[in-house]
């Protein structure tokens, strides 16, 4: 039996779920929360989301979607345009290289792997900003943002797993 129009729409909406959720989270995480010192070290939910979906549903988080999300993030945050997509493309390249190993490993090893990849991404981004902008950027915000991102990884990973189980059964 052919799927009806509404079934197709439903299917499309579900497939667009990882992209849409990542985009909305990226936007909402820019909103001022009036918590002292948070703005510099707010967790990079974009990095967590792309890690999760690239690992578990690469079909729903293709590489152009990663590029698009990082592009929008750069535009909204005011970072030098192109730096975010460049870093995230390399991040996904490294992640895809380890896919076989990561797909079968335990959660704690996965978390440690995320820590390593995220640290590499933050370090590379700091180097790029240092090379492209005048002056030496303070390294402490990058260090702490990396740590907060790694710290909230399990919570977001749990939420994404919930979404995956309930909305993306197929």
């Amino acid at each position: 039996m052919n799927p009806t129009f509404w079934q197709r729409i439903d299917g499309l909406a579900r497939s667009a779920c990882p992209f849409t959720i990542t985009l909305l989270l990226t936007i909402f995480f820019l909103i001022p929360l009036h918590i002292p010192n948070l703005s510099a070290v707010v967790p990079s939910v974009l990095l967590i989301s792309i890690f999760y979906w690239t690992l578990y549903r690469p079909d729903l988080m293709p590489i152009w979607a990663v590029f698009g999300l990082a592009f929008v993030h750069d535009l909204l945050t005011g970072v030098l345009l192109g730096v975010g997509p460049f870093i995230l493309l390399l991040f996904c390249l490294a992640l895809n290289g380890q896919r076989k190993f990561l797909a079968q490993t335990s959660f704690s090893v996965l978390w440690a792997s995320f820590f390593i990849l995220s640290s590499l991404a933050f370090t590379l981004k700091w180097i790029l900003i240092y090379l492209l902008e005048p002056g030496i950027p303070d390294f402490r915000p990058a260090l702490f943002q990396n740590l907060t991102t790694v710290a909230v990884y399990p919570a977001f990973s749990w939420i994404f797993a919930l979404i995956q189980r309930s909305l993306l059964k197929s």
């Binding site: 152009w64 909204l76 005011g78 192109g82 950027p137």
Partner: protein
């Protein structure tokens, strides 16, 4: 030569994997092209940026409302708790400020008569727009905020963004309903300033930390802890005399400034237009800043 080997080996892998590899290469090249375009201040980059920020700003504003309600409620509760002690503190401050008010009034009169004698042009009264910050959590690599006022509200590029306490940044990009303000602490921020009462010239440079530093200081300058910093207006970036901050640490390597603006409590910015017409971009490249030495 290595590339050729890679290309041949790809032929043995499935077409999909090859396509994926080319997509990565293409997008990486595209990302590098974007960096070059952004770095050369291409006007198209600015247009795309303002268009995207403009389209997302209303969503941010709506999402911001519950946060404002919650933070206002918490603040009100905190105020009630601290009411008594704060009242006493304010009384003491008020007495102190009254004494300053008398001194200021006296100096203002004296200043006006001296200006009259020297035939100096009167100071410009800025046109002021107050805007709410709708996005500020840019992460570790940038210090800028988005405000909910744009060129329809009379905002133009280069205006000074002030808090109640002092200068916070300058308007860098303007959309129809939104604008981006680059803060003093951003790595790209360069502000020509005067230091202390002897008005030594310097450039205040941000590095993404909460405390910008002073560079290119006059050679004969003497800087003390607690010296006040205010804009010099040189190069035409800002109107002269806007309060910026105080010197809060001195070392061989650097002089750090604590801006008056409270970065933890930024909710509104006052965008002031002093009709400064000169090209601002001159201030935002190191080579030009050296020229100002």
């Amino acid at each position: 030569m290595n590339k050729r080997v890679g290309a041949i080996s790809h032929m043995t892998t499935p077409v999909q994997a090859w396509l994926q590899g080319s997509a990565y290469a293409l997008l990486l090249v595209f990302a590098v092209a974007l960096i070059i375009l952004a770095k050369t201040d291409n006007i198209a980059v600015e247009r795309v940026r303002t268009a995207v920020v403009d389209s997302v700003a209303p969503l941010m504003e709506v999402a911001n409302r519950p946060v404002v309600v919650i933070s206002d409620t918490i603040e009100t509760a905190q105020n009630y708790v601290a009411l008594k002690s704060e009242n006493e503190e304010l009384r003491r401050q008020n007495e102190n400020l009254r004494r300053w008010q008398i001194t200021a009034a006296k100096l203002q009169g004296e200043n006006a008569s001296l200006r009259g004698m020297l035939n100096l042009s009167s100071e410009i009264n800025p046109s002021v727009t107050t805007a709410r910050i709708v996005a500020d959590q840019g992460g570790a690599f940038v210090r800028s905020v988005i405000v909910n006022a744009g060129n329809l509200d009379g905002i133009i590029k280069g205006q000074a963004a002030m808090t109640g306490l002092g200068l916070a940044g300058r308007v860098a990009e303007v959309g129809r309903h939104s604008a981006r303000v680059v803060l003093l602490t951003d790595i790209s921020s360069r502000v020509p300033v005067f230091v202390g009462s002897n008005r030594s010239r310097a450039i205040m440079v941000g590095d993404n930390s909460p405390s910008p530093s002073l560079l290119y200081l006059d050679q004969d300058a003497t800087v003390k802890l607690g010296d006040t910093i205010y804009t010099s207006g040189q190069g035409g970036g800002f109107a002269p005399g806007l309060p910026v901050g105080i010197v809060h640490s001195l070392s061989e390597a650097s002089i750090k400034i604590r801006p008056y603006a409270d970065w933890d409590d930024l909710e509104f910015l006052r965008l002031e237009d002093y009709a400064v017409k000169q090209n601002l971009d001159i201030l935002y490249s190191d080579s030009e800043a050296e020229g100002l030495q």
